[in-house]
């Protein structure tokens, strides 16, 4: 086992970081928004091959590192579906993203639908590859940190291609890996952002971050973010469904603490759009319910490890 990036992985991570660097802040005229989709960055990452890493001969762990890195940005790009999920749902096929991952009632808000060209729709017993015509979609006003949209009327799924049970299992497994890495990137960045803030913000004549009551809870959030990172990367490496379930169960059950604690320490500033915390914390909130949430993932863990014997 080796928990440090090897030379190739360091080069990859460095290259993705460089591509993302101009997007560490928002454009000057878009600073007071709840979410900002960086289409230019999406196109650059695509053009540079970072959204097709597996087709390019890189590993699933490499693809996971790309998802992790892009999740640290305040802006949104769609990397999970393109880089990590689609190659497992549709191996060998090239899908022109961005890809939305949809489930449930499609006339209700769906993450990334307004930026998607195609969707993978979990319909319960199958997965449908559905082309998206944005004329069929309306934007949903939201404070969650992703673009949300919904279909004006329920789409005709027969226009799509049914991919079968194996693809459905792959969709759920790799969605759990991807959402864990998105959580890890967002949580780590939210912790770092908060640390910067509480070192400077003074209360009662001293920095907020000098109070032990604050330090302990931020330290716990740091531990959680690190835990998310490793369970996510491990699941990306092994490709085992059980590790994906464990990863998502870990990440999603801890979102409430990370979001609550970090907002407490950013105080009133944290609820304004000009203070960037919300980009990461309310993306975490958006991820909290995906693929069944922590309880769904935990039940999957239990079903695999402790199957209920027939009566």
């Amino acid at each position: 086992m080796d928990f440090q990036l090897n030379e190739d992985q360091s080069v990859l991570a460095g290259a993705v970081q460089s591509a993302c660097q101009p997007w560490r802040d928002l454009p000057a005229d878009h600073k007071r928004v709840n979410a900002f989709y960086a289409g230019d960055l999406q196109r650059k990452l695509k053009a540079d091959g970072y959204l097709d890493p597996i087709a390019g001969g890189l590993s699933t762990l490499d693809a996971g590192l790309i998802v992790l890195e892009t999740a640290t940005l305040p802006v949104v790009v769609e990397a999970s579906g393109s880089a990590l999920i689609a190659p497992h749902v549709l191996p060998g096929e090239e899908i022109a993203g961005p890809i939305a991952l949809l489930s449930g009632d499609l006339t209700k808000p769906q993450r990334n639908l307004t930026i998607a060209r195609v969707a993978l729709v979990d319909i319960g017993d199958d997965v449908v590859l559905l082309p998206i015509d944005q004329a069929d979609v309306e934007t949903v006003e939201t404070y969650l940190g992703f673009p949300y949209g919904r279909f004006k009327v329920a789409p005709d799924l027969s226009r799509g291609r049914r991919l079968g049970a194996v693809a459905l299992a792959a969709l759920r497994q790799w969605s759990r890996v991807a959402l864990t890495l998105e959580c890890a990137g967002a949580a780590a960045t939210a912790v770092a952002f908060t640390v910067d803030y509480v070192r400077q913000r003074m209360v009662f004549g001293r920095p907020v971050g000098s109070f032990q009551a604050v330090q302990h809870r931020i330290a716990q959030c740091h531990q959680i973010a690190q835990g998310m990172r490793w369970v996510g990367l491990y699941a990306a490496f092994t490709g085992e469904a059980r590790d994906a379930d464990l990863a998502a169960a870990y990440a999603q059950q801890h979102i409430h603490k990370v979001v609550f604690d970090l907002h407490q320490f950013n105080g009133g500033m944290g609820v304004t759009y000009e203070h960037k915390l919300h980009f990461w914390t309310y993306r975490l909130r958006g991820l909290q319910s995906e693929v069944g949430g922590a309880t769904g993932a935990a039940l999957a863990v239990a079903d695999a490890r402790w199957p209920v014997k027939a009566a």
Binding site: P207, S210, A219, W230
Partner: protein, 379 residues
């Protein structure tokens, strides 16, 4: 970065398992191992068991060959630790010897100390205890009051220690004592436990027998050559030893095994299909997965000879969270286990002090906040 076990490590794990299968009596868990690794019976068992491990090269493979090891990877040490913990830690207190007491002596001991103690530890037949904490100095170890006064070529030690696991049966003590008035003027001494003036008194408590002892030192004479390091400069050595202790016990492995046993018990009782129970168990399993990987990060650092880092504290916090969640789960769904001497009951009781020993949970958080996050010291 890659997370596969090399074939050699898998083979080694099988070798350790085979040795355990061969060396432990079939009823070991119900007899000798019943009362935990601090019990007199298990300590006595460990003397023969560890000697046999030593003979087979399975006691301290990660030690340098000059001290009886075979320069094996740190990963092998952890595989060994995982399998031993899973088996109920038949090494008894000797896990401390191989994990941190020996390595600390290698780094800071004199040549004479190394020559005297390391072969004995490597032979697997010596019991050590750590006499650190005092009634008024636990988390704040620098507040300790036990004094060592230099008198000619000896030190004379007076004071008392508490929470001293294994001291009732120990041959030697790794003692911290004050050698000056400054707060951190503390020195380390290697003290034979049969030295006149040492008295061990056990007392009952929540954690298992064998762990709760007081050790009284009355005019105990210790040769000056038994001091480790310079007089009054023990702090660096203590921190070095604690950095091993904090991640030396792979609680995640035993925790997952106990969770499996608990779910099997609930299955037998017809309660394992309850989705509330199942979801809770799945969430706890995920915490153990995170704790395991955070611990492996530390092992990886050690393998690469990196200095001890705050990752060890992060790992310990993750493990504590998982263990405490499992303890709550046991108390909630299987309260009868708290009264039993089986693995589930023993796990609960054995972990009552898990977030206190070797630096409290809160100390770990302090260190993460200050060293990993750079937050200012405060109050």
């Amino acid at each position: 970065m890659e997370f596969a076990w090399p074939e050699a490590h898998q083979t080694y794990r099988e070798e350790v398992r085979a040795a355990l299968e061969e060396l432990l009596p079939p009823d070991w868990r119900e007899t000798t191992g019943r009362d935990g690794m601090g019990s007199d019976a298990q300590i006595a068992f460990s003397r023969g068991f560890c000697a046999e491990l030593a003979r087979r090269g399975l006691l301290l493979p990660h030690w340098p060959s000059e001290f009886g090891g075979r320069d094996a990877s740190q990963w092998e040490q952890f595989i060994l630790a995982e399998e031993m913990k899973l088996a109920g830690e038949p090494r008894g207190p000797q896990y401390m010897n191989v994990n941190w007491l020996g390595p600390t002596l290698m780094k800071y001991g004199t040549e004479a100390q190394k020559a005297e103690h390391l072969p004995r530890i490597a032979a697997g037949a010596v019991i050590w205890c750590q006499t650190y904490s005092e009634p008024g100095a636990g988390t704040d170890l620098a507040a300790l009051q036990t004094r060592a006064e230099r008198v000619g070529d000896h030190y004379v030690i007076n004071g008392s220690k508490i929470w001293t696991s294994y001291s009732r049966k120990a041959d030697w003590s790794f003692l911290l004592a004050r050698t000056g008035p400054e707060r951190k003027a503390i020195s380390i001494f290697l003290v034979p436990m049969n030295t006149p003036g040492i008295e061990v008194v056990s007392f009952p408590g929540l954690v298992e027998d064998g762990h709760l002892n007081e050790v009284f030192f009355t005019d105990v004479r210790v040769p000056a050559e038994n001091r480790v390091g310079e007089e009054g400069h023990a702090w660096e050595i203590i921190l070095y030893a604690l950095s091993f202790e904090r991640v030396g016990i792979p609680r995640y492995r035993l925790g997952m095994a106990v969770l499996d046993q608990l779910m099997a018990k609930l299955e037998r009782e017809g309660r394992a299909s309850d989705p509330i129970v199942r979801a809770r168990a799945g969430k706890i399993a995920s915490k153990f997965q995170a704790a395991m990987l955070l611990t492996y990060v530390v092992v990886d650092e050690r393998e690469k000879r990196a200095p001890p880092s705050v990752v060890g504290n992060t790992s310990r916090v993750g493990a504590a969270e998982a263990v405490l969640d499992l303890m709550d789960f046991i108390a909630e769904v299987s309260p009868d286990s708290l009264h039993e001497h089986n693995d589930i009951g023993q796990f609960y009781r054995g972990n009552i002090s898990a977030s206190i020993a070797a630096g409290t949970y809160e100390i770990q958080l302090n260190l993460i906040a200050q060293q990993a996050l750079g937050l200012p010291r405060g109050g």
